[in-house]
Symmetry: D2
Subunit: 345 residues, 4 copies
Amino acid sequence: MTYSASVVGGSGFTGGELLRILDGHPEFELAQATSRSKENKTVGHQHPNLRHSDLRFSSPEDLESVDVLFAATPHGVSMEQIDQFQDAAGTVVDLSADFRLDTEAQYDEWYDGHTRPELLEQSEYALPELNRDNLAGADLIASGGCNATATILGLLPLFEHGVLGGDEQIVVDVKVGSSEGGAGGGEASSHPERSGVVRPYAPTGHRHEAEIQQFLGVDVSFTVHAVDMVRGASATCHVFPDGPVSKGDLWGAYRGQYEDEPFVELVAGGGGVYRYPEPKAVAGTNKAEVGFELDPANKRLVVFSAIDNMMKGSAGQAVHAANVALGLEETAGLEFQGLHPVGAP
Amino acid sequence: MTYSASVVGGSGFTGGELLRILDGHPEFELAQATSRSKENKTVGHQHPNLRHSDLRFSSPEDLESVDVLFAATPHGVSMEQIDQFQDAAGTVVDLSADFRLDTEAQYDEWYDGHTRPELLEQSEYALPELNRDNLAGADLIASGGCNATATILGLLPLFEHGVLGGDEQIVVDVKVGSSEGGAGGGEASSHPERSGVVRPYAPTGHRHEAEIQQFLGVDVSFTVHAVDMVRGASATCHVFPDGPVSKGDLWGAYRGQYEDEPFVELVAGGGGVYRYPEPKAVAGTNKAEVGFELDPANKRLVVFSAIDNMMKGSAGQAVHAANVALGLEETAGLEFQGLHPVGAP
Amino acid sequence: MTYSASVVGGSGFTGGELLRILDGHPEFELAQATSRSKENKTVGHQHPNLRHSDLRFSSPEDLESVDVLFAATPHGVSMEQIDQFQDAAGTVVDLSADFRLDTEAQYDEWYDGHTRPELLEQSEYALPELNRDNLAGADLIASGGCNATATILGLLPLFEHGVLGGDEQIVVDVKVGSSEGGAGGGEASSHPERSGVVRPYAPTGHRHEAEIQQFLGVDVSFTVHAVDMVRGASATCHVFPDGPVSKGDLWGAYRGQYEDEPFVELVAGGGGVYRYPEPKAVAGTNKAEVGFELDPANKRLVVFSAIDNMMKGSAGQAVHAANVALGLEETAGLEFQGLHPVGAP
Amino acid sequence: MTYSASVVGGSGFTGGELLRILDGHPEFELAQATSRSKENKTVGHQHPNLRHSDLRFSSPEDLESVDVLFAATPHGVSMEQIDQFQDAAGTVVDLSADFRLDTEAQYDEWYDGHTRPELLEQSEYALPELNRDNLAGADLIASGGCNATATILGLLPLFEHGVLGGDEQIVVDVKVGSSEGGAGGGEASSHPERSGVVRPYAPTGHRHEAEIQQFLGVDVSFTVHAVDMVRGASATCHVFPDGPVSKGDLWGAYRGQYEDEPFVELVAGGGGVYRYPEPKAVAGTNKAEVGFELDPANKRLVVFSAIDNMMKGSAGQAVHAANVALGLEETAGLEFQGLHPVGAP
């Protein structure tokens, strides 16, 4: 059986990534891609990797009935159009921040005024490693924020396996690629200004802290830097456990958490060039690399987590969640293993 | 039916690319990967995109019997070991320059002393767009040089469809990524020296001219520049036809040549950001993008051709040829469509 | 004696480069920088390398009287405001294309309708290597196009010293950085789309052909590619002389032309990593590197020329010309020798 | 009066940077550059920005008598050759780690066995912002580690002005360019492997912690990441003060510390693209940019510090210290203000 799918907002970066995944997905058939600004143009006009496709962008006003609708629209759009989305599809997967948080109070603390707060508790967070059971059969799914996803995947085993209790000091220093800024551009995102940067673009107060707080139950000190790559988010979590922690404890926690996960790879030490998680090792894939190192001199534990922000941090996570929701093979459409070597991904 | 396959020289860049393709190929089962320097290490130790694999490098001295052996060894190695390769496998695909040329005289003009010249005329050039019929059932296949491949794919329709006769002036200005230099490194390939370059690394006398001459029957003025990407080769061919050429002639030639080819995309003008062939649009794929523009003021035709040097220019071409040789679906294992956006690929 | 100077259009890239040079120039005192969009902001707000300066952008409506006015405005602006510029300053150096060509007919062929054609023959082209004698005392100076500058410097000795006659086939394949597109940005210049490209952005018909034609008296087949750097233009000139040319002829021509030039470096072969001209070797400097290689098999001569498009190709050339015009030390303010190693400059 | 100077180890990256600075320094005359591997080659053969120079590398065995000798040799070499260095020059500035620490015990904790421990307390740390008074007249000067320099400059005002007491939790997350790895290269530094990385290369236990501990009297949790640039070190210091800290306190501390410093720029907020310290804004210069942001929700203070690791973090610091030692203008030879825009520096 094949499921029909549509992408609302298909001309943006995450919309294009959804189109790419769905185009190669064995169980989905891509029925519609909408774009107001690129209406009637082929999807390949905007996304050169889709030049082989005949599909043309249609107006977002005319949604076809499909099994699954993926919304890749800016924050605030989905909450306005959620009725149309749900009329069109039994399963809606939203990639914006509109349905990630559980309560209106949380939302208001970090964003501005939710118009459909009653849906917040009905929606399911898309990250299967965190929320697999609730995703089965879900009809409204919220794909997580990329930086939050990297951080949560790095820290989750420590909380789940009792290494941390919740009162510890945690600093998360994130490095991200330019695709996080979206397709719109602007002076700071122009190539001359954005090339080669190590730029503190969200020194404090990044909204993804809200998701981390919601799921890990802990406040983290969060800072995001722009660095010179297009795809990728790398979270380095500096953690100060209350008591002694051994390498064995850590391997136990991480293996216990992730050994059956198809998209999490543990990378901690060993030889060779790639000893710790790196975003370029997972570029284009739905994988997260997670690893750690102990710093006994400073009673510190350093956790590294690397993802492709457009995949595990957005479109890939969304499709993975849809696979779970519909009972498909979890890895369907997400089998790409990445490239070596590869440049700034 | 599944075919067993091995990769000799699996720790290098093209060897790793072969391992990646074969790992995901529906008809091949990867039986062996050899590496003298990395013997007993997992393939994922060298190639982080293969961390999910249990395969370990074995010694090149102990070749297993397989259906297809891919040799990704430095120039000169395969001609020495061809007997062992052919003992081990009914089909041998060599990625070096050892068997690309047809005659000993040609070889001696560009390289140094062939030890098995009698095999030169028995081997088949791997490029299906050029040599599909002869590849069926071939037992010794020579994968082409990346810069030659890009150039041949760009110019071939002009000769096949009578736009050029063979006496025209042709300048080919190629831009390539750092993976062409292989995994070995060296001062000129170190990141501080190689970053951001536009470096004439083969101003004249590049050996790939030999392949171009052999297949197109024409001498081209060939210059190769290193630019800042890891994967990719882009050939800009400045051609001076004897008489007038129209856009219609060109579309006729290129469509006539390539309309049924699964791996060649015509890209010539139109709007949007991606109007002509670009290597980053095909990074990680086995596609070639080919396009052109007329310059009536200078009676010039400019042809652009872009490939991933590690794929269409090497490992992907090799697997494509093996698919043809064994009668498999041509695109098997080579379905990846590439990413958008992507950085320096 | 110190000369007062102003920069009209100081918030753009070349305007900022002028500010940087003038700020460190021993003979100029920077009196004014104008910017309509950044009026009243400090120059360091726009150009972080000028944070030490107290200067603020003023309105372009209120020009102060100065000795030299540099206009770094978009094409078409200077011809409209030239009277105000000349009222404000005895010496005007324009960085746009408005006064580069000699005749209205030439201008109309490549651009659209000149409003002050009578000034075309009065203005002097800024390149001292080409036009030093006429620059002395000049009151209207037109700084050349960056790609034209690189090309002219590469080919000039061949015409001046009789290696070429003017009827030869010449292909010029240029690779440029993203700063050529200016500070404005746009989708094609956004970091995600512009990173890692080898993009044919002006396959044919580039306007700089006009300048080359004007000064070398020859039509060249000209193609410009965008590559991944911010600063830099590299011109590879494929030249087909009518008769035999020796290395000695070439060294004679190039040394004869450039041995006393303070800003031209001959780089042709030898060992080490940097054997031919490279833009990253001259990034931030006013230098041009020029070199060549013979290709006897194809009766071809390959000439390489590399500059920083913002310096020798624009702001540096402008200041150099002003130094000549005023009788100053030619290298004044332009002494920076560049960095090694350096990334994508 | 002019001082003669020599550079021992002139073919490496920091050696080349010293040559560049001294070549343009108004008070120094470069008498000798040594290199064992490049003996008799011109300095421009190795460093293309020095092609205008006639100087050739000489053997390190034959040191000329000079006023100041700069040693840019690998760790461990200077302690072996310090007698020859001091015989040759009244002032020796060493760029290795050999003389940075004060005691043998400290040295042994982080390095292996000092052969001349009695010199440790005689040497002076080169950072004038920290140690100006002791540098005057010093005859043995140790240029600091780049990552330590960035960190110390970021945190120093907090300790000097009572914002921190010394018991606070401090995490320092550093991002560095590839030139830190030196000219030698190796697989991890090759362009294909090093491009586009966010690579935790020193997750814990980095030796520069020793210098930070020595000068700030505090242990910091230190992690270094390799990112895609050639030059630059950016330190993000996550600090948790015991009590409340206001923006006013911070501006007071930072202005109080640095307002008269010629090479420290405070960059904290404001508008535009460059709101916080960034290494590309100081590439090629001896400047440090320092800034901060408060995170009241997490009772955190985030300090940013950015330098060019080859300049303020090495060769520039060394020349600055020599200027101080000899009573010269502090900024002599170090006036370059950097470029805008610039790519990956």
